[in-house]
Amino acid sequence: MNDTATPASVAETGRPAVRTPANYKSATKPIWCPGCGDYSVLSSITKAFSMLALAPEEVVVVSGIGCSSRIPAYTSCYGFHGVHGRALAAGTGVKLARPELTVLVAGGDGDGYSIGGNHFLHACRRNVDLTYVVMDNHVYGMTKGQPSPTTEPDWDSKLAPGGTGVRAFHPLVIALASGANFVARAFSGDPNGTADILAQAIRHPGFSFVEILSPCVTFRPEQRTWKENVHPAPVAETDDPARAARRVMTDDGFNMGVLYAGRRKPYPLGRRADPVGVAELEAEFAA
């Protein structure tokens, strides 16, 4: 059970009707390494929920396996920590079964782009109204530092000495090509900016994809310098996926912000308003 954390500062002493970010945090404390970017992402997610004034019980946070996938239990929302790579499938099931719930699927680059890569493509093209957050640190943290699909080809590791020699995956281009309806890049070190983007992503109809650069201080300590590399995207978002794809393919990988906000129709979630009784199905079997 995710008990709401006891308010520890004046930020939590507000009117009961107002939900502060702390209302979305549980009493369970993260096991992430001190310094991990995911702490800030958790904070951004709770800020976004607070901005949208969502009732915690009407939000489901779904994940797979990996460091970042531990996130559901750190929220006071309903959580689903499933198996490796299948978070988008589980989240799709939740949303289709209960369209009125807000579904946020979260995880890492290994979970989402490697073992879950196929689901990523199909979630983009299916365009179910949910938000997918990938905390990308270009490495497998929970299994101790193996290359992921977004790892640079020459990154040396025990499992791939001298590097994989394989080019990195470009999640934003893949998302655009596959039909995601909202594509953004954020940086964990900018929790308020990330919260803004997440709130927009949640509000946007259809499948919203937010790639968050979130440094791994344990296996990729050099990512501490990301803070100096990131910058706001120089141009405003577009609703033209081809233009957005061209931009993200040619940028430096550190453009932050909403890069694409599409107008595709989301996957229909409506159920028949006038369902018939089960007995009526029997007619077709009559010999």
């Binding site: 520890a8 500062s9 004046v10 930020a11 002493t13 507000g14 009117r15 107002v18 970010p21 702390a22 404390k29 993260p30 096991i31 992430w32 390494c33 001190p34 310094g35 991990c36 970017g37 702490y39 800030s40 904070s43 396996i65 990996g66 460091c67 996938s69 531990r70 490796h84 929970m142 299994t143 101790k144 530092g145 940086f187 964990s188 070190g189 900018d190 929790p191 308020n192 900016g193 440094p215 201080v217 344990t218 296996f219 990512q223 501490r224 803070k227």
Partner: protein, 189 residues
């Protein structure tokens, strides 16, 4: 961080310590000041939790203490403004540079084996950034009331600087092997 910044003394504000529009009223200034403190308190809470989870109780306790101090500072701002709850975070660009409020210690700057010396050094830098921020704001503002309030805030932050500096003088600096861990990281899920 630029060499110029490294050299900058606490209180000797430079252009890099400020960005965006200058708050034009006391409530606008104090709303940002409050959120500066709330952000810092939240960050210290996260860091304290992380340190406690990783069995670094000494630093955890220190961060917890810092959380309390920032929380009290936030309370005193609320009290002085007669606010019963924090006003919503002002919209638009924050008046400070960078992604986070000046007092915030960045997540990526901490380490599970860090010692109180590191924690206090990081805290000191944060307090110094706050002093420079309010000083720069006071220098830029053309509204006398805002100028005065910003200077008052800067003075308060300077008290924190002195406090943290005094603590820092009492803790031993780490030796060069402080981050050595003979064991490799662990496998989890």
């Amino acid at each position: 961080m630029s060499a110029e910044r490294e050299k900058a003394q606490a209180g000797a504000a430079v252009a890099e310590d400020r960005t965006g529009a200058v708050p034009q009223s006391i409530p606008a200034l104090m709303a940002w000041a409050l959120w500066l403190e709330l952000d810092a308190a939240e960050r210290y809470r996260e860091l304290a939790d992380a340190m406690e989870m990783h069995n670094n109780r000494e630093v955890g306790a220190l961060f917890r203490k810092m959380e309390t101090i920032e929380g009290k500072h936030a309370e005193s701002i609320m009290h002085s403004m007669e606010w019963t709850s924090p006003p919503p975070r002002p919209r638009g660009e924050a008046p400070w540079p960078g992604f986070e409020a000046p007092e915030n210690v960045a997540h990526e700057d901490v380490h599970y084996l860090m010692q109180p010396w590191h924690a206090l050094t990081l805290a000191l830098k944060g307090e110094e950034r706050a002093v420079r921020f309010f000083t720069a704001l006071a220098n830029e503002s053309t509204v006398p009331a805002v100028q005065a309030a910003a200077r008052e805030m800067a003075a308060e932050e300077q008290e924190h600087v002195d406090l943290v500096r005094a603590w820092l003088a009492r803790v031993p600096p780490p030796d060069e092997r402080w981050r050595d861990d003979p064991d490799p990281p662990r496998y989890l899920d």
